[in-house]
Symmetry: C2
Subunit: 398 residues, 2 copies
Amino acid sequence: MSTMPPSLRVRRRLLLGPGPSSVHPRVYEALARPLMGHLDPLFLEVMDELQVMLRQVFQTTNRLTLAVSGTGSAGMEAALVNLVEPTDEVLVCVNGVFGGRMCDIVERLGATLRRIDRPWGEVFDPQEITDTLRSHPNTRLVAVVHAETSTGAHQPLAEIGALCHEQDRLFVVDAVTSLAGTELRVDDWHIDACYSGTQKCLSCPPGLAPITFSDRAVERMGERRGKVPSWYLDVSMLRDYWAESQRTYHHTAPISMNYALHEALALVLEEGLSARFERHARNSTALVAGLSALGCRPFAQEGHRLPMLNSIYLPPDVEDAELRRRLLEDHDIEIGGGLGNLAGRIWRIGLMGESCRRTSVLTLLGALEELIGSAAGGAATAAAESVYGEMAAEEIRS
Amino acid sequence: MSTMPPSLRVRRRLLLGPGPSSVHPRVYEALARPLMGHLDPLFLEVMDELQVMLRQVFQTTNRLTLAVSGTGSAGMEAALVNLVEPTDEVLVCVNGVFGGRMCDIVERLGATLRRIDRPWGEVFDPQEITDTLRSHPNTRLVAVVHAETSTGAHQPLAEIGALCHEQDRLFVVDAVTSLAGTELRVDDWHIDACYSGTQKCLSCPPGLAPITFSDRAVERMGERRGKVPSWYLDVSMLRDYWAESQRTYHHTAPISMNYALHEALALVLEEGLSARFERHARNSTALVAGLSALGCRPFAQEGHRLPMLNSIYLPPDVEDAELRRRLLEDHDIEIGGGLGNLAGRIWRIGLMGESCRRTSVLTLLGALEELIGSAAGGAATAAAESVYGEMAAEEIRS
């Protein structure tokens, strides 16, 4: 080598975009623990414990619950590729980028795609789905995004789940951004396949996709006419690799990432799901109050806004790219821009997992006040502080 | 939570199995560096630098060179799913587990599979491939495993590559175990798609699959009749995500794993490829000498044995599972057992990347002498030491 290879250059950022979120020091420590073989009895224990903790976080008793060795999008593909055959009719509800991605995957699988659309930022009414299913009685599977990361819309699931259950359709839910940040009851809501990513409210680096399948989904997979088109994501083999006894070699699991997920899940369970959901709701309320003082209106449909992904119209007279560049370069804060038609019109501000803290909210609002100009005059942080104050008073009273 | 979540239990092992291999402290340190967003300009630099370093390690100028966000098997699937269409005829050379896996993937893609077999442990003669291609002139793609991790066989590639090139067949090579451990010349050998894993001779934790495609392969992908069946592994989109200008969002790359790969590649290039190859050859020679003193015969075909994956028949009168359990529990050393028919008959001893050190060889041989009994009486370590001594003398003389 005549030239030295480049050094790795990294800066510490406050991650308030659509993911990844900031990572707890214990998770970094887990990542860097000594590698063991993927068939080492101690690593098999790690896999067993991961399954137990994932079931708790998904609020399910599903036996088939594991972490796919890819990112959240691999989880999406794993859910669909195992459950959809070319002869199937599939209904996908699209109100943002990720519903659109599900359609793309269903089409690649050669199935008949039925797609219903809502404007970006809005959610689906269960009645729409009932009506569609009435006119398409052969629909085998219904797919919905719980937390549309591209819009900040929060889709209610319980009624759609009950409907699918009654009518014996498979119900597939994208919970990439919602898992561990807001209520998600896989069993109570009759969800047959639910996948997530590690880099959102679990606050683990990206690289794994937690996934769970109901017994009904497993039964359907057993009835497939053809092999799953993807070898890597074939759940019938992944299941044997993750089996709690008599494991069968499939691929080599990303050991270090599984260590990190183990620690991230432990942190979630130590905090407790309801406390964690409440924390996400509280910080989001304070952030939105502060942003409103800066003249930012929320983008997503009222009453259906995600706490961990706050989509807002840009403040008046602000240039998107320039402001986000300065936030990143001068303040080491990342927030997300809009996707597709929403580019330059909205911001997507994530308050996920470890990033979802009072200090994050106040740090971001302070930086925005500074960058947008003195007109704001501390009003944003004051508005957020006032929300926190009221909440504290509420807590003392109750 | 009524019960505390489990703590992560990890032990430091000497990893001398078929992978993962031991990891350098600098790579652990890289893994644990602060997470940045996957669209952060600094992370985009990391991706650019990764591509430059991967090209050096693959010995290629291929523009389309990147790390797939999955393990080595995802790399195998990515190579085949992008290059094979259902109307294609594909020739796969099978002399172990991984050739068999390629067949499985080709069949799932609905293509016409032509398979030739050699007994496990042997390699293919280019003449066999010439003959097969003569009788099957429509073969579009030839797939071969360079380093069969299940057998330790080292397949020569140059002649097969030249043949495929002349006849305009695509040449796909599995280099999961060989990359950065033995000579692999993607350009000189006319390889059209070559993939690897991070956890073998790159000594990075598992989780990414380095891959490179020739311009000819890229051209063929552009002529596809249908979409690539896998959304997650569709290289036409991965290419835009890894593009050095105007990146298009696809999935969220496993940031921390990419940090680790960056550092692992830097270590490879600092050492230099030829010094690294020589180190793998040297330690393998010493290991095999030591094992032979214990009565172990090599399994793979003479003259075609991999340096980083030493397959050997078990020593006489040794019980496989029990001995490997004691190696692991009493000595914290992992070695691999045989797969399929070879279970209980051979061991697979990896000397990959950071694990490929004189101390590893002597530590393992010492432990085996102790476990197999005093009959060996230090003969194994002595035999290895003598090889190292001769080599040192050779070096002084030259």
